[in-house]
């Protein structure tokens, strides 16, 4: 079977700085893949390139959504990428602070509903029905993520852990086949991290959505991932299963050094 996401030799230059250097990556359906690397190694830049926020200098980003044809998506705008079924979260939470929790999730539904200006003003039957369904669907997503107690609260008033979860919920509302999480556990306490691990497993096992995640928390990465890619200075320096990565001397040298000692 074809991988659902295939990145070929992706490069990104910022002026003279090569933030990504001929990077290859593959994700198969149902996999949890982690992307790790020291600070500034280009992980977030990689996300930005494949989600259309940056236009990569070179390379190909190809997707084959389940049941659909394979296509090349670099050069598309972020909203088009999301429409194709790749949704993401951000390293520093980017919710819509002055909208309610429900509305935040409803924004995720935006590209799956279609009412326009005229329909909204006249409140045609189709619009009303669609809106009602969007509210219900969004509420359903909130329930799944344990956020239904906050429906009408402003997003900015949520506790930190809940904000992180809401960001994932919002991305899930766009009906993705692949979800990209940029350091979802950053700033979480051990209990919250544990809940997050469960949540991510559930997204994969119950919703059947593949996951690509950037994370610095090694325990989380090792316990969750099927496959790990390691980057340094914009280059891929290793790929493999958690066990292989743990034992890979290049990785230990570049990145895991101190932590590997700390764990044993």
């Amino acid at each position: 079977m074809e991988p659902i996401l295939e990145v070929e030799s992706l490069s990104m230059d910022f002026g003279g700085l090569r933030a990504l250097n001929r990077l290859d990556l593959k994700i198969n359906e149902g996999e949890i893949v982690a992307l790790i690397g020291p600070n500034g190694s280009g992980k977030t830049t990689f996300f930005n390139c494949i989600t259309g926020i940056y236009n990569p200098t070179e390379g190909n980003v190809l997707i084959s959504p389940p049941g659909k044809k394979r296509e090349r998506i670099n050069g598309l705008k972020p909203n088009q990428v999301t429409e194709k079924g790749m949704a993401r979260t951000f390293q520093n939470i980017r919710l819509f602070p002055n909208m309610t929790v429900l509305e935040n999730v409803m924004i995720g539904r935006h590209c799956r509903i279609s009412s326009g200006v005229i329909g909204s003003i006249l409140r045609s039957k189709a619009t009303v029905g669609e809106e009602k369904k969007a509210v219900e669907d969004s509420y359903g997503v909130l329930e799944k993520f344990g956020l239904s107690g906050y429906v009408n609260d402003f997003a900015k008033n949520l506790p930190y852990g809940a904000q992180r979860r809401l960001e994932i919920a919002r991305a899930m509302a766009t009906e993705p086949f692949l979800i990209l999480l940029d350091e979802p556990a950053a700033g979480m306490n051990p209990q919250e991290t544990k809940d997050l691990v469960q949540l991510i497993t559930r997204i994969r096992d119950i919703e059947g959505i593949s996951i690509l995640l950037i994370e610095h928390d090694m325990r989380l990465v090792m316990s969750l991932s099927d496959l790990i890619y390691v980057m340094d200075y914009g280059k891929k320096i290793a790929e493999g299963t958690p066990d292989e990565i743990r034992r890979n001397p290049v990785v230990i040298k570049a990145y895991l050094g101190e932590e590997a000692h700390a764990e044993t």
Binding site: N79, L95, V117
Partner: protein, 401 residues
Amino acid sequence: MIKLEELKKSFLVSVWFMFLTFPIMVIRVNPIEKVVEWRWKNILIVGAGSFFFSFLWRYLLLRRETGRKKMEAGEIEKIPLSRRILTEPKMYIPALVCIAVFASVFPFVFSIYQINIMVTAIIYVVLGLGLNIVVGLAGLLDLGYVAFYAVGAYSYGLLNYHFNLGFWAVLPIGALLGVVFGILLGFPVLRLRGDYLAIVTLGFGEIIRLILENWNEFSFGPSGIANIPRPSFFGHQFSLHAATVYIYFLMIALTLLTIFVVNRLQNSRIGRAWIALREDEVACQAMGIDKTKTKLTAFALGATWAGMIGVIFAAKTTFINPASFTFLESAMILSIVVMGGMGSIIGVIIGALVLILLPEYLRAFSDYRMLLFGAILVIMMVFRPQGLISNVRRTYKFEGR
């Protein structure tokens, strides 16, 4: 609560003010008698005044600070009166009835002068609501809004002059031209935000005004267009008084329509997209919202109201020239939106009524109007940055689950 520290700071401020204003407030050279007058009394007034205001300012800031701390600590959980009036039917239905009765008897009780002032105020209500779509909801700082107002007004003036088109025929044309110009402005500024957007839109407003001022063959230049007919009623022409009343009710109807439309829009798919765009542009796009389309609809819909109101303005004053469409006008409308509360319909209405009616009825202050204006805005920004009435988002109930 009042600390010595605060008193000392206020004292320093007053000394500083006395020093600063010394040359203009104290020394006066009398060139005829060639003497220098020393008006020492003034410095006392300046000193005492600045001490008082500085202290008041500090005191209010302190109070706000403690109030906020209490709120954060969850000590007071009181819903402000304004919020209650807006959300509890027991309170807003009587208020609505009162307003409706007042609005419908107003033109029969008050003089034509008063009606005219009220029509002006309502014109600004609608302009404020239109700009509110662009600035309040979509968060696009537009300083050239008056350009669309001018487009509407001139479309009536010119179409009537050249083709003898009537008010009712031009009204939709004005709205349509508003849309066209809104999109015309929207395209070049798609990539801009914040300050850059403000500067370009400001430039756009000035360009339209300068064209109207200088292209004599097209727009009759600074002398403008006179003798624009007032609106008719199925071909029937009114007397001056009746026409004023007619325009008044027309404006009321248009205001209701605007409120209706804006209210529906802001809780719709497109309205949510505007707010998301305002809140976080990158996240908004990443969640599947087409930025281009969303921005353009905001510009176009905002401009529609300005175009329509422009036509009515031309019909009301029967004379238009570029001087009515200066940057000051844009600033005024923007102040209404900011002061009323970005994104809040009620806030914008109150903002417009306050900012337009107050100077009219405080004629004595008309020289200091701009000064007062600035002061009000600064005070608002410090003490109520969210505007008079902050926007309430729609809430949903999910029971029985």
